[in-house]
Symmetry: C2
Subunit: 317 residues, 2 copies
């Protein structure tokens, strides 16, 4: 079994590649819930939905999130009222939030509802939120000192403002969802997907017990760098790393991940940084990492698996 | 100012006629909220929305509720999950519930949100929920003895089951919304719209202070019978009246309304029952009452106003 720690778009693409090279029944994805929020009374789980829609082959390929062939009647009608339309909820996508909200209100934990939604889309892999408890990524803006939710920062403010702090509200009181710790402990290989280390993987690690479980699997853990050539492929990971005192480079990622994973997969454009990664405490593995097609994502997944299965550490660069 | 006690479709059509013959700024509609319920975490107010959409000229003319030109992508997508699709929420209609839910969650009372929604649709009249507090019409089924919400009875069970009792949960603790008692007290004329006496007008009267306020205006109050020729024009009012021990006739309606209104407008098909209405304690007013067009609704409204403005009681039959 392969256990993958996952955020949103990057992780979803990696998982889509992985399920082309491994029996999906052998994959467990542990997904970030720090992005989750309530809007219009609906329980919205952006990362879970992005992974679900992507693996179902139903994601909007232009955006990497939302559903392909989506319509926007509800959002358009909401404009009449001056309602909150900054978080675009497509008409079909709304059904996912309606269902999740109704089930949550009926008392079903998020992990149960997530499994139901995954089954409805006939996903082959197991999709588990890292916790059933509310964990909310809160972002402090550098200029004003105001603290806002992740989605207000990421979508409403289009992550165009500098950040001075990030915290995960509720994390200290949260417990891993059923199966999370076992999946990490029992996995043949643990993968940290190419997601934002701070706001996608960070909330996963903040759930008590998860970081320790992964650290105990360090020898079998491979992380894929979300930073390529000093920049994030998507989203604000690079700026956020710098604003929070890290380095927006594969070396910077290695410093964040060295206790978690033996190996850091870095893109070929970062080949020259391989030694810096090693100096920062991780084994570098240089390989193409841009998932511009399912085939390239599958090749990346194959490389990650091969590296982890190799008995002698340090190979690959 | 004309104050109208209103349920759903019948009241909406009456109000649409009334605003053709009276300056809408002179109309206050006090609307039933016993049908309101939560589904998918959304705050749904069917009667308020039916009145709003009808007066905005945006109602689906085929059903009498919902929006014309509606699309159903969300409901269709919800079927994938086996979600609750028995209460059909159109994509555009969903926006109303999203907005109301967000505003309620932000702390705005229903009456404030209702005014905002009415303003967004540029309604000329004042639309007020009878109370800002939760009042829920609960229906006991005769056969099983189970008690279910009104919408479960009306929509999910398509009101095809016999009823043994109706009660208004929360009514005794509710307070009239701001302006309700004043509107009744200050109105030139009070009208009880042609709505189900038990489950549309009943919850309005169950809010403490409302019944007494109307009874004190009995001389200036006209009710329009929702029963025509022994049947309800729409919905289960006739069966429900019988099942709960009343008579499904204009005479039966007169017995329910005699303390509220001096006059009962009955359709021409019930002309022969005029004396029975008088015997039951109300002045009969015989006139065409089928609102098959806005013009006929306007004519009905004109008749109601003329009758109330007449100084000598008892005329019109």
């Amino acid at each position: 079994m392969i256990c993958v720690l996952a955020g949103g778009v990057g992780a979803a693409r990696f998982l889509a590649g992985l399920q082309l090279v491994v029996d999906p029944a052998e994959i467990v994805a542990i997904v970030n819930v720090g992005d989750d929020f309530d809007l219009h009374g609906l329980a919205i789980s952006p990362d879970l939905d992005t992974v679900t829609y992507t693996l179902a082959g139903a994601v909007n390929p232009d955006t990497g999130w939302g559903l392909v062939g989506e319509t926007w009647s509800a959002m358009q009608a909401l404009e009449r009222y001056g309602g909150a339309t900054w978080f675009r909820l497509g008409d079909q996508d709304l059904a996912t939030h309606l269902y999740r909200t109704q089930r949550r209100n009926d008392g079903a934990p998020l992990s149960v509802v997530t499994a139901e939604i995954a089954a409805a889309w006939r996903l082959g892999l197991r999709l588990v939120p890292v916790t059933d408890d509310p964990v909310r990524t809160m972002v402090t803006l550098a200029e004003s000192g105001d603290e806002i939710t992740f989605q207000e920062y990421f979508v409403h403010r289009q992550h165009s403002v500098a950040v001075s702090a990030v915290r995960f509200e509720g994390a200290e009181r949260s417990r891993p969802a059923p199966g999370v710790i076992d999946a990490i402990a029992d996995a043949e290989i643990v993968v940290v997907a190419p997601s934002n280390p701070i706001v996608s993987i960070g909330p996963v690690l903040a759930v008590p017990g998860v970081r320790a479980a992964i650290e105990s699997r360090r020898e079998d853990c491979v992380a894929v760098s979300p930073i390529v050539g000093g920049a994030a492929l998507k989203g604000p990971a690079d700026r956020m790393l710098r604003e929070l005192g890290h380095e927006a480079s594969v070396e910077g990622v290695a410093r964040l991940y060295r206790s978690l994973a033996r190996t850091l997969l870095v893109d070929e454009v970062d080949a020259a940084s391989a030694e810096a990664v090693r100096a920062a405490g991780m084994e570098p593995l240089v390989a193409p990492s841009i998932m511009s097609s399912p085939e390239r994502a599958a090749a990346l997944a194959r490389t990650v698996l091969a590296s982890a299965r190799r008995t002698s550490p340090g190979a690959g660069s």
